[in-house]
């Protein structure tokens, strides 16, 4: 049988709360540390224990990260989804299942291997059979796929860090699994293998929530006000976890305050209070939280207070699918709150950028005196992505236009809190406690000195300045990343976690219709002129995104030069899952057919 090396997909069907996530991460890390390009997506339910969970492990020498078209190896552990899991296997799938579930399996068209996993696990520890049975399938796979036992040992040790008895027990389970295959299965009949590749020692796996949290620390965050919500809680929890190590003085006193707020309105209120007082303050939430924060966001816009809000997007609307991913909040973030408003949105597409935008968001917020959104999603935030390492900020903090002394204040002719003395739409500010130009900040109309005003011309001028301020930022917010083909026929615009699927989409298009397409990954709103130039340079441009309504596409239509609009097409799709290349390549092919390209 021809071997299929480093190019297949595993799907592991379990229930949450059984410890399977540990087993799955051991698999992921073992393969990863063998230098094999691999990615894992955890599809977990919105409850704590006992409901169906799937883990998709994609192994691909070509570096494909998103779930692919088909599953090659299916592990079936969960009675509740048994039938469906069995049914959904395409012919030829290798099925490993827990025999002790005593559930029927009737797939002659597949390679089916039953293993008494629970019994084997119980043999090791009667009370923890359910948990350990997961480690059995790790052993089965280790043997079949020929995983490096040394790396596997390391991965187990790492996963159960410090718990010697647990490490021992789990390794025993792995061995039992290996032994079972050895004794009962002729692995020559199974094509799938993992082969070690050259290991890049710099690269590691991490999730975006942790990267954002670390980035925020290196941005000098002084206050985190937060309210728990999946999938954003990890940002806060990581941030808190790192304080003892990197944010304390010699005496153990903290340089970052953390408050678990009573709700999201309070969380963002704290951020605004912190920004007003002169520190860098942030919160992390998901869609429902952003909705609740809307009123306060308008205050920050109008009173010009810096602050950072991370939206780790989950599938909306409403409570939606709280444990699934989406890019469904983008248009809301851009114009959150009533009245005429716009806010900058930073959109990382890698772990490095989660870190970088983590600190940069503060520079931008203070520079613009505005709330800045970081836009992540469940896929970026909670799944582990590979990362080349975090780079220390190359520049000192940009604290924006803060006046700290009377001399600085005096140097400004005609100072007023809201007067545009530099002509860039951005005024200067002083801080409470400084005694410099004290004013009463407000969300009501105000003149250039911050005094309450209802005068039509004062209001109108203020609003136009705010617009100018945001428009100016287009050229210096994180610019798009371009990968341009020479032909410049078809261009693809995308953002954020779509990054995961782009290479595969690209290959599919080349393979199937012989097309090479350019790519433009948008990294911020308001849009850079570079995006417009990219569109100008290409004949047909397609915007890929993980939502129903084509939200970035809609923003583009609104903002692009008229003549460019007909070139631009939407390929939006969202079903809660991480984006799969096939969905988008089909949509793209449809567009190309339609426009006759």
């Amino acid at each position: 049988m021809e071997r299929i090396v480093n190019d297949f997909q595993l799907n592991i069907a379990t229930a949450n709360g059984t410890g399977s996530q540990s087993a799955n991460l051991v698999l992921l890390h073992t393969m990863f540390s063998m230098g094999v390009p691999v990615s894992g997506k955890n599809l977990f339910p919105s409850n704590i224990s006992g409901l169906p969970t799937w883990y998709i492990l994609r192994v691909s020498d070509r570096g494909y990260q998103a779930p692919g078209d088909r599953t090659h190896i299916q592990i079936i552990m969960n009675k509740a989804t048994w039938e469906n899991d069995v049914e959904s296997c395409l012919p030829g799938t290798l099925i490993l299942f827990n025999e002790d579930a005593k559930m029927p399996i009737d797939r002659e068209d597949c390679t089916v291997i039953g293993v008494p996993m629970t019994k084997m696990a119980r043999g090791l520890n009667p009370k923890l059979g359910r948990m350990i049975s997961n480690m059995i399938y790790v052993g089965l796979l280790a043997e079949i796929l020929e995983l490096d036992q040394g790396k596997l040992n390391d991965a187990v040790a790492n996963q159960f860090k410090g718990k010697e008895r647990a490490i021992e027990l789990n390794l025993e389970a792995v061995n039992l699994g290996r032994a079972f295959i050895n004794e009962n299965v002729d692995t020559a009949m199974i094509p799938y293998r993992i082969e070690a590749r050259e290991v890049d020692d710099d690269v590691f796996l991490i999730d975006g929530n942790e990267a954002v949290a670390l980035g925020s620390h290196y941005g000098g965050v002084g206050l985190l006000g937060w309210y728990p919500i999946t999938p954003s809680s990890g940002v806060a929890e990581s941030l808190i976890a790192y304080i003892p190590e990197i944010r304390c003085d010699e005496d153990g006193n903290h340089l970052c305050a953390v408050i678990q707020a009573e709700d999201e309105l309070a969380a963002v209120g704290m951020v605004i209070g912190g920004g007003w007082s002169g520190i860098r303050a942030m919160t992390a939430t998901s869609g429902p939280g952003i909705s609740l924060m809307s009123e306060f966001i308008g205050l920050a816009y109008f009173a010009e207070i810096p602050g950072v809000i991370w939206d780790v997007n989950r599938t909306g609307p409403s409570t939606g699918l709280p444990t699934r991913t989406q890019q469904g909040d983008l248009s809301m973030l851009y114009e959150a709150s009533h009245g005429d408003t716009t806010h900058p949105v930073l959109i990382p597409g890698s772990m490095e950028e989660c870190f970088e935008f983590g600190w940069k968001a503060f520079d931008i917020a203070e520079r613009l005196q505005s709330v800045v959104f970081g836009f992540s999603d469940l896929d970026l935030g909670m799944n582990r992505w590979s990362c080349k390492g975090f780079e220390y900020p190359e520049t000192p903090m940009d604290r924006g236009k803060i006046l700290r002394t009377q001399a600085e204040l005096d140097a400004i002719e005609n100072y007023g809190r809201y007067r545009d003395v530099d002509g860039d739409g951005i005024p200067y500010r002083t801080l409470p406690g400084s005694g410099l130009d004290p004013i009463l900040y407000r969300g009501t109309g105000h003149d250039e000195d911050g005094i309450y005003s209802e005068k039509p011309e004062v209001y109108q001028a203020l609003m136009m300045r705010l617009k100018q301020k945001m428009d100016n930022a287009r050229t210096w917010l994180p610019q798009p990343v371009l990968r341009e083909e020479v032909e410049k026929e078809v261009g693809i615009i995308y953002y954020g976690s779509m990054e995961n699927s782009i290479q595969e989409i690209d290959d599919i298009l080349e393979d199937e219709i012989g097309r090479k397409v350019s790519q433009c990954r948008v990294r911020s709103l308001p849009l850079s002129p570079v995006v417009e130039q990219f569109i100008r340079d290409h004949e047909t441009v397609i915007v890929l995104e993980i939502n129903r309504d084509g939200q970035l596409y809609g923003i583009l239509r609104r903002e692009l030069a008229n003549e460019l609009i007909p070139k631009v097409h939407s390929a939006a799709y969202s079903d809660g899952m991480p984006p799969r290349a096939r969905h988008y390549s089909e949509l793209i092919k449809g567009v190309l057919k339609e426009v006759g390209q």
């Binding site: 340089l255 408050i259 007082s277 002169g278 407000r442």
Partner: protein
């Protein structure tokens, strides 16, 4: 003539601010005066004070006191959160916050409760008039049950007593007073300003304009003496504020309000032990049953740690910590990268 200076050598003028735009006679203006006097007498540094408020007539008043202090007139009902954030940013500031009963007891009750629970270091002045002044006279949640406004139905609900709530929540300083009781209010305000932790000063502060009870609730003399009949709906008469209502400890006093209805104030007796929460609650419940308001320092607990203390922050206000200390150094990131790479 020499100008009188306070302990930090500042004249009272350094504590005043813009002219009020409230209705003449509004109790809120009296409270502003008390805040000015108290801050001056306590020798607070104006630049080290931050004035916070929500939205309402009451919440406008930070424009009328302490003009040398920064302030933030935030959004309706959510000032405590902004204050919390600001307090974390600058622990050296004294936060003097003003809110209305609409702002605090309705839309803002959640934030009020949680600021109390955290024992946030702030003076929380509740300018309590039983109505929504700025939106023209709807009942607030502190309105007395059974009161009846000229427009609208009888208030059917039992009032929310924020002092009661605060005592239950373990608020570390709970006082009630009356806007016209300048002496009592000043001494409570000064104590509140010196308090570490959350100090609630609930001030009954009648709304001249909209606390208009139905004629049936007014005294006979009032109706007789007043040509209310002539007034247009959009005419706001000018009154002098009610002043000099100082009730001796343990005694009570009836005040006639602008519309002729009365209000009974009782000053809590010196036998009251302000560290006894149950006694404070009992006094409040009793007063409610007897349709009067009990004033004075109701509850006090100097033992609890404050929100700032709970954070274990560095002593320097975070806003003053240099950037290169706020940002961890490059070496620390290398340690992390190395650890992530599994090479440590």
């Amino acid at each position: 003539m020499t100008i009188k200076l306070n302990v930090i050598d500042l004249p009272k003028d350094d504590y005043t601010a813009g002219k009020s735009t409230l209705c003449p006679g509004c109790g809120h203006d009296q409270i502003s005066t008390v805040i000015i006097n108290s801050a001056w007498e306590n020798g607070l540094k104006p630049e080290k004070v931050a004035k916070m408020s929500g939205i309402g007539c009451s919440s406008k008043t930070p424009a009328y006191f302490l003009g040398k202090s920064h302030g933030f007139n935030t959004v309706h009902g959510r000032m405590p959160a902004v204050t919390t954030g600001a307090a974390m940013g600058n622990r050296d500031l004294t936060f003097i916050a003003v809110s209305g009963d609409g702002d605090s007891a309705s839309i803002g009750i959640g934030q009020f409760i949680h600021a109390v629970r955290r024992n946030l270091d702030m003076v929380y002045v509740l300018e309590n008039n039983g109505v929504y002044g700025l939106t023209k006279g709807q009942y607030s949640a502190t309105a007395v049950k059974g009161s009846k406004k000229k427009k609208g139905a009888i208030n059917q609900h039992q009032p929310i007593d924020l002092c009661k709530l605060a005592v239950n929540l373990g608020c570390t300083f709970v006082a009630r007073s009356f806007s016209g009781s300048k002496k009592q209010l000043t001494s409570l305000m000064k104590a509140a300003m010196s308090h570490k932790g959350f100090a609630l000063v609930d001030v009954i502060s009648p709304c001249v304009t909209f606390n208009n009870n139905d004629e049936s609730l007014r005294s006979y003399t009032y109706v007789k003496d007043n040509d209310v009949e002539l007034h247009a709906y959009d005419y706001i008469p000018t009154y002098s504020p009610i002043e000099g209502v100082e009730v001796p400890e343990g005694e009570f006093h009836d005040i006639t309000l602008f519309d002729g209805s009365t209000l009974r104030l009782e000053t809590i007796g010196s036998d009251h032990d302000p560290t006894d929460a149950v006694a404070a609650l009992a006094a409040l419940h009793k007063a409610e049953l007897e349709n009067k308001h009990v004033t004075g320092l109701l509850y006090f607990d100097p033992t609890k740690s404050t929100a700032i203390e709970d954070q274990c922050l560095v002593d320097t206000p975070l806003a003053d910590v240099p950037d290169d200390i706020m940002r961890p150094n490059a070496a620390s990131l290398e340690v992390l990268n190395t650890r992530f790479r599994g090479n440590d």
